[in-house]
């Protein structure tokens, strides 16, 4: 029956869409995690370098 075919097709599209969304979600999560880790590490490294090197010149300091 034509109605069953249409339902099947919609189901397949939805499934594919769901898979794509899941993959994209995974990618976004990985990227977000990467962004967090990368910027966090970058931030920590810049802060450490800043603390180690930046100091106002004052006698006795």
């Amino acid at each position: 029956m034509a109605g069953d075919d249409v339902g099947e097709a919609i189901g397949a599209v939805l499934l594919v869409g769901l898979v794509i969304v899941a993959v994209l979600a995974g990618v976004v999560i990985v990227l977000a995690a990467g962004l967090l880790i990368g910027t966090g590490v970058g931030f920590a490294n810049y802060c450490k370098a800043f603390q180690a090197n930046v100091a106002l010149e004052r006698p006795g300091v």
Binding site: A33, G34, V41, A49, P59
Partner: protein
């Protein structure tokens, strides 16, 4: 304290020096740390051999890649922000000190404040200042890259870097001769008057006679109290006045490059004027290179040229017999006035920016001295002025100063000095003639006190050009 400063002992503003070294080091270290962090993540990945550890390896590798990518992005953003912040403060400080420096320059310019060294006569914007903590010499204690309003000495002492914050309280010295100088040599109204003339023309007697009258009488009538400014001026004054009181003329000036004789004029308890009077040895006018060292020509307020009438040939001839008798006491000057004027003009042209056809704008008082000799008083003294006034036929009442000026000028012409008069009036835009007796009488060995006569009007005429209101009531009148 006397050694020349190799470099400024102040600590440069962070935003003009160390800030950029710190920036470079921070960027370099931060980049290296990012690389080390990424390497650390990659090293933690156990490898792909064991399928169970593939996920774990993937996580560490992803962390390493994330650090490389996002860590670098953050590094670029943070470094840019650091550079921008540093440049912003650099500009802020730059604009700040430039604005304050300009304001100070304008204020000091309007008030005619600059450093005039009384010892070497060097002119400078500001002197060098000593740190009142460690004595280090700060050559440029101005709003600049070492600080906007103050400089921080390496000893930790904060020093005011502007006139507005009482920089003058610090001990100063001349950048050229390194002599210590008082605050008033920078921050006060000053009048600079050299007393010029050939040897034995009576410059020293004129100077100390005038100062004596100013200190004893005239200053108070002008509303001032006169005070010898420093020990050196006081010592010189006491010594010469002692000689004059005992009937001896001042000793010959030896120094062709004189130190300034400083007299302070106070009004209402505050310093109103600091006078700089210069008395070089007459020999300086015999050699142009000695005159070149008279740096005060760069900023003088006016000049007094003492003329010994007996340096004029016509006068020598007229009084030949008397001169033969009185030569030792009269000591006629041997330097022709034309030569002194010519050397002065040559020096002004060569060293002080006077153009070949330019005119000196500062007032020049030509003072015919020794009117006490023989009957000169009758020729160029007040009796001659009285006669001219009596013969005055003008519509308006005669001005005594103008009449005196005319009588003396005409007398110089009569004595054959037309060329000198023309040369002086051609090169000096404001000339007035005076006569005086710097000793008050002919030296006769009697031991009677010398009291100068008519020595103040030329000085007060020049002072009147510096400040008409303050000196208008003096015996010298207000000038032309």
């Amino acid at each position: 304290m006397s050694s020349a400063p190799a470099e400024d002992p102040a600590i440069r503003s962070y935003f003009f020096g160390k800030g950029y070294r710190d920036l470079g080091a921070t960027i370099s270290e931060s980049w290296q740390r990012n690389l080390d962090s990424a390497k650390e993540f990659f090293d933690k990945a156990p490898g792909a051999d064991d399928p169970e550890e593939i996920f774990q390896s993937g996580v560490w590798v992803a962390a390493g890649i994330s650090t490389l990518i996002f860590g670098t992005v953050f590094f670029v953003v943070a470094s840019t922000a650091h550079v921008v912040l540093l440049c912003f403060f650099f500009l802020l400080v730059y604009v700040g000190f430039t604005a304050l420096w300009l304001l100070e320059r304008c204020y000091l310019g309007i008030r005619s404040f600059f450093m005039a060294c009384p010892h070497c006569h060097e002119r400078s914007t500001i002197p060098e200042y000593f740190c009142d903590g460690c004595g280090a010499i700060h050559a440029r204690l101005l709003p600049n890259s070492y600080g906007i309003t103050s400089h921080l000495c390496q000893c930790g002492k904060k020093l005011p870097a502007t006139f507005f914050l009482d920089r003058g309280r610090l001990q100063a010295r001349c950048p050229t001769c390194h002599e210590n100088i008082a605050r008033e040599h920078v921050e006060s109204r000053r009048i600079f008057v050299p007393i010029m003339g050939g040897p034995s023309s009576g410059k020293s007697a004129f100077l100390f006679g005038a100062v004596r009258q100013l200190v004893d009488h005239e200053a108070s009538s002008l509303g001032f109290s006169a005070q010898l400014f420093d020990k050196r001026s006081e010592g010189a004054y006491r010594s010469v006045v002692g000689l004059l009181e005992s009937g001896r003329p001042p000793e010959k000036t030896r120094d062709p490059i004189p130190r300034a004789f400083n007299l302070a004029l106070h009004k209402n308890g505050r310093l109103a004027f600091l006078l700089y009077l210069y008395d070089p040895a007459g020999e300086a006018y015999q050699e142009a290179d000695k005159l070149a060292a008279h740096g005060f020509h760069d900023y003088l307020s006016g000049m007094i040229l003492i003329v010994d009438p007996f340096a004029i040939q016509a006068v020598r001839s007229r009084y030949a017999a008397e001169l033969k008798r009185e030569r030792s006491s009269l000591k006629p000057s041997e330097l022709p006035i034309e030569d002194a004027v010519d050397r002065l003009l040559l020096t002004l042209e060569a060293e002080f920016g006077l153009s070949k056809r330019g005119r000196v704008k500062q007032p020049l008082a030509i003072v015919l001295n020794k009117v006490d000799a023989f009957d000169l008083d009758d020729v160029i003294g007040e009796p001659a002025v009285d006669r001219a006034l009596a013969a005055w036929a003008g519509d308006r009442p005669a001005d005594r100063d103008a009449v005196r000026n005319s009588v003396l000028r005409d007398q110089l012409v009569d004595w054959g000095e037309q060329a000198l008069v023309s040369r002086i009036e051609g090169r000096f835009s404001n000339v007035r003639y005076f006569s005086c007796s710097a000793l008050g009488r002919m030296p006769d060995g009697s031991g009677a006190e010398f009291t100068a006569n008519a020595v103040l009007p030329p000085l007060l005429w020049i002072f009147g050009h510096a400040d008409r209101n303050s000196f208008a009531g003096g015996t010298g009148g207000g000038g032309t």
